[in-house]
Symmetry: D2
Subunit: 356 residues, 4 copies
Amino acid sequence: MGHKSRFLRVPVEPFELAPNLRADDVLTRMERVSFQGRSLATARRIWEKMLGGDCTIFLGLAGALSAGGMRLIIAHLLAHRYVDCLVSTGANLYHDLHETRGRRHYVGSPRENDAALQADRIDRVYDTYASEQEFIDNDEWIAEFVMTLERRPYSSREFLYRLGEHLWKETGREGILTAAYRARVPIFCPAIADSSIGMGLSQARHRDPGAGHLDTIADVVESANLVIRRPRTASIVFGGGTPKNFINQATVQAEFYDDRVGGHRFALQIITDVPHYGGASGASLEEAQSWGKLAADAEQVTVHADVTIALPLLASALVDSAVETLAGRKPICFDLSGRTMAVEGRPLPPGFEVRE
Amino acid sequence: MGHKSRFLRVPVEPFELAPNLRADDVLTRMERVSFQGRSLATARRIWEKMLGGDCTIFLGLAGALSAGGMRLIIAHLLAHRYVDCLVSTGANLYHDLHETRGRRHYVGSPRENDAALQADRIDRVYDTYASEQEFIDNDEWIAEFVMTLERRPYSSREFLYRLGEHLWKETGREGILTAAYRARVPIFCPAIADSSIGMGLSQARHRDPGAGHLDTIADVVESANLVIRRPRTASIVFGGGTPKNFINQATVQAEFYDDRVGGHRFALQIITDVPHYGGASGASLEEAQSWGKLAADAEQVTVHADVTIALPLLASALVDSAVETLAGRKPICFDLSGRTMAVEGRPLPPGFEVRE
Amino acid sequence: MGHKSRFLRVPVEPFELAPNLRADDVLTRMERVSFQGRSLATARRIWEKMLGGDCTIFLGLAGALSAGGMRLIIAHLLAHRYVDCLVSTGANLYHDLHETRGRRHYVGSPRENDAALQADRIDRVYDTYASEQEFIDNDEWIAEFVMTLERRPYSSREFLYRLGEHLWKETGREGILTAAYRARVPIFCPAIADSSIGMGLSQARHRDPGAGHLDTIADVVESANLVIRRPRTASIVFGGGTPKNFINQATVQAEFYDDRVGGHRFALQIITDVPHYGGASGASLEEAQSWGKLAADAEQVTVHADVTIALPLLASALVDSAVETLAGRKPICFDLSGRTMAVEGRPLPPGFEVRE
Amino acid sequence: MGHKSRFLRVPVEPFELAPNLRADDVLTRMERVSFQGRSLATARRIWEKMLGGDCTIFLGLAGALSAGGMRLIIAHLLAHRYVDCLVSTGANLYHDLHETRGRRHYVGSPRENDAALQADRIDRVYDTYASEQEFIDNDEWIAEFVMTLERRPYSSREFLYRLGEHLWKETGREGILTAAYRARVPIFCPAIADSSIGMGLSQARHRDPGAGHLDTIADVVESANLVIRRPRTASIVFGGGTPKNFINQATVQAEFYDDRVGGHRFALQIITDVPHYGGASGASLEEAQSWGKLAADAEQVTVHADVTIALPLLASALVDSAVETLAGRKPICFDLSGRTMAVEGRPLPPGFEVRE
């Protein structure tokens, strides 16, 4: 056949079954298959590079991952500092709080009669149910907590740190909010008004107009500042949504402060949206490079898959294969207890101060 | 063949081509086809019922609709009160502002080399380009406008009203923000921190820590209050995202104030996401019924289509077929000039007051 | 702002609503929007170029387009020679036959209880119903027709020509099969065994083992021959599936006979699948260029949309805008009455003869 | 909170990470999460029930699974009789043959320049490459093999059995075709004309008009006969396409012969298409129940995922958890060497005979 084209260098290796394969083995054998299987296997290797690459790693969460049984994986990733900063939708934090408070979500069916569910006051999320009464109880619990805070605006980052602290002290249970509190991982929730946490905050304000004030622009300032404090950042996105944009936006805003910022050095996203309708959730990581959100030479991979399939396999493999890299990692250190956070012992510079 | 099953009542009518069909004709001929074509034709009829149904109609916008050439359709819908309240992502308002200020988005290719675009400082949204330098200029323009505001938190609704007013006075050009200002249609942007408008606000704060403060929890209070002021509401969603959830959440939060609120009476959504991954953008309207976000007997339709195809056809047909219904409509009347808005001449009750 | 980047040449033109817009106007106004709206508008222009470009135009049909109300559009496109050759799934031809025989499909709901439908012997296609008893009657009708044929293998092309002829003589009604018969447009159905037509053929064989024999490899030979008979070909695909591959394969197979064949010169596809899972239905047209199925410089566009939305708008616009181009078109002329077809008066060369 | 609703019985169990989890453990821990993760875990349990349920199990393959590294998983499933009958697209068999003959597919990029690939004669399947010259060589190899066959029509089932035999004798290598030959698993390929195997057959006919004749209607007869030979059948579908329909059609056609056939008793499908466009690939299994393709009380699950992610995990778990069930299984026994196959030692009854 003559000599081979330069395009024909690395053969596809068919996946071979064997008894007792571990998640780590499965993902390793997927590295040379095709399509999204290969992408998922690549995601593990890129995450390992982030861990070994002196990076501040952002993790974005959208979709009903907490209700869907992913919250203890996320908590594990925070607790062991596979990531350094969480950006989440409010719903994921609310459903996490719901379970940390001892309530449950339930196995349901996407074909159940919704009028019957409404009559029973059951809220459905595709194939998963929750009790509306328990949700109302959560809202009240949040409103009561809010009443214990100072009568001033809080960034979502500061508010969620306090919420995690309160939840940990009351329950002592593992979850996303409590793990972030204990591991000092900041959580940003840029769309917090658009969630049941926002509803709890609004109910506190119903009791006292001075309560329940958030300062989400402070989150923009803090997240950009977080980016410029370290030469390299990385982006991990599960599901798209506001967290995806907020993590990317942080590098763009950071350039306002420091034009040496050059976009994330590594990026991985697990999404189900597609690029061709123009929405941000489905946007390709190449597109992010045009904006400078991602470095032009960044290592990156997109996995088109449901997070509830991809993440259990990916994280199970990673906890085995990244043991040494993780042990050698020196994660960035935050003090989250103040009104503005301190990074590696240094508070934000005066120019970034939020209003007193 | 014997008598027909009760399931075989209304035959599919094959679409027949003819010369000079108007959009109105095309959509009428689609009413008895199948799949998403029928859904789109049904959407027009449900919208007509909203217009004739003594409803407060919410419209949610997500996805890059303004950059993608849909902004003057939206402006038309606001100006002529096909809808009463807009909930939008920040990006759609920002890209609208960009064009109202006389800048343009450009026809591009999804296969262009993104490193080349980055080198030329061109930001890509799938097949559409914009100048990063012009975006930076917008950010500064927004920051300057923010500096002219009072040093107190604004709800996104109040802030966007003032922004629309300023934009109208400066440009006199049609667009979403200016049409909403002129037609007194409130705009909520619950995730405003997660957009370039949020970046502009944060840059104002860089100049003065007292500037650029938003109060997004006030938006939760106001939107719920808007729901309870009228016995019937309707929801139109283009693209999902935070606007979809915020519009639905408003009815849930409204029940906190008034348990006679029973969910939207009509709903239509044009989305590209699917339900089976559990995310809110793709959630079915049946699912919303389990939560009571939608009345159990609501008339509703989901159209799975790109808005840039569905909306031009839908809106072109609607402007012809809804002329009389629209003429007879008495849309809800807002006064948006105050810190809290007034609905039909009555200000919000004291309990809803935002903090002074 | 200095001079503009070379990437910023053609601005997006926001769609402007107006009264009484025709489909032609709507699609023209969509030419400078973004995303799939622009793609659909481009599809019309590419189809016009095919019509004016001295091409043999293939049309592929997959998905339940006939049951879904699109069959008279397809019939119109065949009758007026907007296309020259049809490649279809068996289901689309079977559902067309069902309606041409005077039966109907019915408006249904995707949420109906399927056990109840089964009990009533109603077959559901998403939101559309049909009577199973009527389908069984069709199968018998097909088997009876098959019994009238010679006891030899037929290519699907020859078989479907005879079927269309029989249907036209029996019913005199318009449809895909009858329009193709009357306009002498060949129909290929490479997966005919995988359809109810295949079931009808197998039932004929139950009556006589010598009846109901098809020769689908003859279709491969004829379709490749059709490609080489003319210097330029074009591909239009609605929905993907076997027709998409068969139309592309025809150019690859044609190169076996004549290495001057260089792939289709124009291509448009309206699909809902995506490329990233590796399936042929969702494959990009760029990918087809690597195979030489499409010329490297072909004009092409992919529209990601449901055909039941895209096609009524596209075809309604095209029948207005292509009047003159179509009038000037000299479509390729087939004689389909023989065992092998003749193209422009010339029978297939001996090497292509199918077995006697 | 009072007593719980009947809908709140089985709580979601968050996935807990641990070291050294095996695929079996991962999938077991996914059984009580939500969305597609739960569906995939359920798929394993349903497959186990098929294995223990005295069923004839059909497996359908569509999408580029062989090129994509899944062929040795399929070969393993055939060799160990996790399934009893394969229905495949031609492409999956062709790409399997390509690798069994010692050629490879190659790791590529979906963003490579396709004109450059065309110039180098590299064929791209999303992110995977192959040499066109090697494909042409395969076509010739197939044509030569075809020349060794009798000058009469073959069902795809008989033809593929002979092809697997020839391939095994020539190469002695493991693959789908060779494993099926050795394990006496019939393979049907209803759309074989629509593939490179079909092209090879047509090239044989170029050499001798009497060669390369297939009888795909015989496949309809044989597959229906296979269904009626055993009281229970099951359907596994990877990717949709013609195999999905053909497997379902077999039960419908079987009712023509024996009205006690009641549809498949178990069904699982791993697909990426969605139901709402009306196509068969994305159709729900509920819809199949309306047709009687699936029993009204069948146990079934749909997994919306890329097969290259879902199958390695699913199959790795199944080979561990199904050891005992598989050992106790008595799979249906075929003799495939004749012109019509024999099932459990009995040849097809005369009425099913294909034409001599």
